[in-house]
């Protein structure tokens, strides 16, 4: 029975349960709903909850666990000598799955009977040929152990699916009957419903934790895998980045980190002065009309997707810089993609980030401090420079750190604007590459996920995650510490 059907039956049962629960509750109160503990709907809902929640939970767990168990059992039956030279158990198992799937299609399409599919032997039938006839292409001939494993796989899947249908529906029916029996006018249905809603809310809130755990686990396992194949020392302190999928790669992170930090530095040199002065002007000098006009417009820059900035770097800023600094004039720049191109564009992207955060922080400085300074005869700019900015400094440092973490984690602009060559150089007009750009280039394409060249991306991701997390925590700490002073 397909999973969709099981779900449909459970849901239908829940709807029936809702109305029966409601009816039974009202009947137990003799038709007078005022005698009920809770509103009639709560009785119905509690039956529906008992019908669905446990059965669906079991269904989900079963769906996750069953393939793992079957995989385990079936792979145990494959003898070691049945695995061809140069192949692995995993590859043989994927063959087994494909054959099993092919047999399923053949049976469903009427090309084989159920009995025939589970009894054919490679010694008598050319299975590959038969399956090709129903549209399942196999890469190699089917060995006898593969076919036998595939047949076992099919039997176990079928048994498992049947068992699952029975168990899940039994649980649904059990929950249905149990809740229905409990439905009585004195039953505290509202409390039951509200408790389950509470658990649902907690579950939703926990997804944030699950996501973090997911990120950390997926990074850690693959990173450990990488360090088995490639020494950690060479990764962290190697100064050459030269991956080659043929083997013998040199995967040192130093040139990538250098590119990342250099580009981020240029971006901050662009964004911090402009953003900070804009924030000071908008919060201290601008009339409300100018503020209402300029602030949203600058923030539009923050709403523009990074792919747009990437294209802007690749096709507008890069060629423009090349015509100014390129071989036809001073000759500092060889190609349109360079640290400068990416840094400049990233700086533009970060302006609103710095300016809105600083704006908030400057506005949070108490007016009394300004009034005091102005009352002593300081000019407006002297007040800003000597009273407001020092008071806002921790917050502004926090904002700059957040902007730096943004710059380090930015991907599209550097993928499109910074170039692909990993290089340790001081010339900002040379192409360099970053951690994020290399994550993309190592994981796109048909890389084999067990090679160090692909796994290095996870180690790079781990490094990136740790750096940005550190910067964020530091920034939040500084901002929070500052806020405590004035609130």
């Amino acid at each position: 029975m397909p999973v969709l059907w099981i779900v449909a039956i459970i849901l239908a049962l829940a709807v029936i349960g809702y109305f029966m629960g409601r009816y039974r509750a009202i009947a137990s109160a003799g038709g007078d709903s005022r005698k009920l503990h809770s509103l009639p709907n709560y009785y119905g809902t509690s039956v529906a909850i008992f019908t669905t929640v446990f059965s669906l939970l079991v269904l989900i767990i079963w769906l996750i666990v069953q393939p793992l168990v079957i995989e385990n059992r079936v792979s145990g039956t494959i003898p070691a000598e049945a695995i061809p030279e140069g192949s692995t158990l995993g590859l043989v198992m994927s063959d087994v799955r494909r054959v099993a799937n092919g047999l399923d299609i053949a049976v469903a399409g009427g090309a084989m009977t159920e009995d025939y599919a589970s009894s054919i032997r490679t010694e008598f039938t050319d299975v590959r040929d038969r399956l090709a006839g129903v549209g399942v292409a196999l890469g190699s001939d089917v060995g006898s152990s593969t076919l036998r494993a595939a047949q076992l796989y099919r039997t176990m899947s079928a048994t498992g699916a049947l068992l699952m249908a029975i168990v899940v529906l039994a649980i649904a029916l059990g929950g249905f009957l149990f809740a229905l029996m409990r439905t009585h006018k004195d039953f505290r249905a509202r409390n039951v419903v509200e408790t389950s809603i509470r658990y649902l809310l907690i579950g939703a809130a926990s997804i944030a934790i699950l996501t973090t755990v997911g990120i950390i686990l997926s990074l850690i396992f693959n990173t450990i895998e990488f360090f088995y194949r490639y020494p950690a020392w060479d990764f962290f302190f190697g100064t050459t980045w030269a991956p080659s999928f043929g083997g013998g790669s040199e995967l040192g992170i130093i040139p990538l980190l250098w590119g990342t930090l250099y580009i981020s530095f240029i971006a901050l040199v662009v964004a911090v002065p402009i953003g900070l002065f804009a924030a000071v002007y908008l919060s201290e000098y601008a009339t409300p009309r100018i503020r209402a006009f300029a602030k949203p417009l600058i923030e539009v820059l923050a709403g523009i997707p990074t792919i747009v900035y990437g294209l802007f770097a690749l096709l507008t800023v890069g060629p423009l810089l090349l015509s100014v600094f390129g071989p036809n004039s001073v000759g500092w720049m060889g190609a349109a993609s360079s640290v400068m191109t990416a840094g400049l564009v990233m700086g533009i992207m970060l302006i609103p980030f710095v300016s809105s955060l600083s704006d908030d922080i400057i506005n949070a400085v108490p007016q009394a401090m300004r009034d005091g300074s102005l009352g002593l005869g300081a000019t407006h700019s002297e007040t800003v420079k000597q009273v407001v900015l020092p008071a806002a400094l921790p917050g502004i440092v926090g904002a700059v750190l957040l902007a730096a973490s943004r710059a380090i984690g930015e991907t599209m602009i550097v993928v499109m604007g910074a170039g692909a060559a990993a290089r340790l150089s001081l010339n900002p007009f040379e192409a360099m590459t970053t951690v994020t750009a290399k994550i993309v280039s190592q994981l796109t394409g048909d890389a084999d996920f067990s090679s160090p060249e692909a796994l290095v991306a996870f180690a790079l991701g781990m490094t990136l995650f740790v750096i940005t997390l550190g910067l964020n925590i530091l920034a939040l700490y500084i901002v929070r510490k500052y806020r405590e002073q004035y609130e």
Binding site: I298, I304, V440
Partner: protein, 453 residues
């Protein structure tokens, strides 16, 4: 230095003699100049920021607008019966044996005829003339013929795509001197194009196919459109909306209304604020490792893209939802509790409806953010896949490989042909129009339903 506190204002009688309050002394002038300078820096910074915005928008519009028009050739083609249907019984099954290559001679004859009709003198033969047309033309003629077998033997006027070089010439992107080393087209072709434009057989018109069409292979940029990837984006946004809105709202309600102040709550809060700042590429790694490697979901599927973007958007939605729940005054909760509602009823019947406009605004802004996000999509295989087919149904829409708008733009930007750059800019215009619409809806919602308590 303008340190006011350390330097006393000159007040001695010998200095003040002869000075007037109306005449500024040197020091005051200097301080005023510093003041003016400081203000000017501020104005300059704001202007630079706005100038960047203007430059960005101008370069998008200037480079992208040409993508919305395309050069077409009005070409009368004689559907030769001897070549297309030698049996003469108009059976589509038999006619489909003629491959697209079989249609090339017809098109070449038609071009030679077009030259003759318009009095254009040229020594080029048919195959050379055909370089002016897109390589998609034979397939277009074939599809038409198979759909209308009764037209065989007639002369039908087709509106066919010109090749991307001709199109680039019409848009001013390709010059005659660019073609010297180009094996696809010669300058002589452009002379013919000029004459055909005068004759009215070549024209540049609005190109709906760019908005609704599918991506094309690398060699025919004139045929590529963003339609299929738009559908991919649409299915992804559905996944994000269906998952992120309920989960985000539920999580916010718990944290804002129910959660006790304990370590578990703190843990969740810290997690949410950190997730909001995790680089998007890391979410891509998560998607690749958890959904594709571990979960076995298909690569390039909008479902996976939607799941990854959901996780990315959740913090945004949670933060804005909490802000709007917080904005509902406690008196509403107290009143509900006072007339006997349970805590759950107070929240779901009274607080949540009042916070809904703010929640929707935050959700739309989160969706807009997700719509433009590219980096995680690169890792789950939405790039490199050429989206040439519309999904066949709803399930296919979620599970069949597809591209998404930003991924499609990236894909075009990577291709070597400058004709694709124009498409990429055009794609950005489409993407930004979507984002603008969503943001305007959000602003209107906020303006219309915002309540001040």
């Amino acid at each position: 230095m303008t340190d006011v506190t350390n330097t006393p204002v000159p007040s001695g009688p010998e200095k003040s003699r002869g000075s007037s309050l109306y005449a500024l002394d040197k020091r005051t002038k200097r301080r005023n100049a510093a003041e003016a300078r400081f203000k000017a820096y501020g104005i300059a910074a704001v202007c630079v920021g706005l100038a960047f915005l203007v430059i960005l928008l101008v370069s998008i519009v200037r480079n992208g607008i040409p993508a919305f028009t395309q050069t077409f050739v009005e070409l009368p083609i004689y559907l030769n019966e001897e070549k297309l249907d030698p049996d003469g019984n108009r059976d589509p099954a038999a006619m489909s044996k003629v491959s697209t290559f079989g249609y090339n001679p017809l098109i070449e004859d038609a071009l030679v005829q077009l030259m003759a009709d318009n009095g254009i003198e040229t020594d080029m033969d048919g195959p050379t003339l055909r370089k002016m047309l897109s390589s998609s033309v034979p397939a277009q003629v074939r599809d038409y013929t198979l759909a209308n077998p009764d037209q065989v033997g007639e002369t039908v006027t087709f509106r066919v795509l010109a090749s991307s070089r001709v199109d680039g010439y019409m848009k001013g992107r390709v010059q005659r001197e660019d073609l010297e080393r180009d094996k696809n087209l010669d300058a002589a072709h452009l002379d013919i194009v000029d004459q055909l434009v005068d004759a009215g057989a070549v024209e540049r018109t609005f190109n709906w196919a760019f908005i609704t069409g599918a991506d094309a292979s690398e060699s025919r940029p004139e045929q590529a459109g963003i339609g299929v990837s738009m559908i991919g984006s649409f299915f992804m946004m559905i996944v994000v909306l269906v998952l992120a809105l309920p989960i985000g709202v539920a999580a916010s309600i718990y944290l804002e209304e129910f959660a006790a102040k304990n370590r578990f709550t703190d843990l969740i809060e810290v997690n949410i604020s950190n997730l909001a700042a995790v680089p998007s590429i890391v979410f891509g790694i998560l998607g690749l490792a958890v959904f594709i490697q571990f979960g076995g979901l298909p690569q390039s599927a909008p479902l996976v893209g939607g799941l990854v973007l959901t996780l990315m958007t959740l913090p945004t939605i949670i933060i804005s939802t909490r802000a709007s729940l917080k904005a509902v005054p406690p008196s509403i909760r107290d009143a509900a509790l006072g007339v006997g509602a349970s805590k759950t009823q107070a929240v779901f019947h009274h607080v949540l409806p009042l916070a809904m406009p703010g929640i929707l605004t935050g959700t739309i802004i989160g969706l807009a953010q997700a719509l433009g996000e590219t980096a995680p999509l690169l890792l789950i295989g939405m790039v490199g896949y050429i989206a040439t087919n519309y999904p066949e149904g709803i399930v296919d829409g979620f599970l069949a490989p597809n591209s998404a708008m930003p991924a499609q733009i990236y894909e075009w930007a990577k291709r070597a042909d400058p004709a694709y750059y124009e498409r990429a800019w055009g794609g950005i215009i489409v993407l930004l129009l979507f984002l603008m619409t969503m943001n305007i809806i959000a602003i209107i919602l906020r303006r219309r339903f915002e309540r001040r308590w």
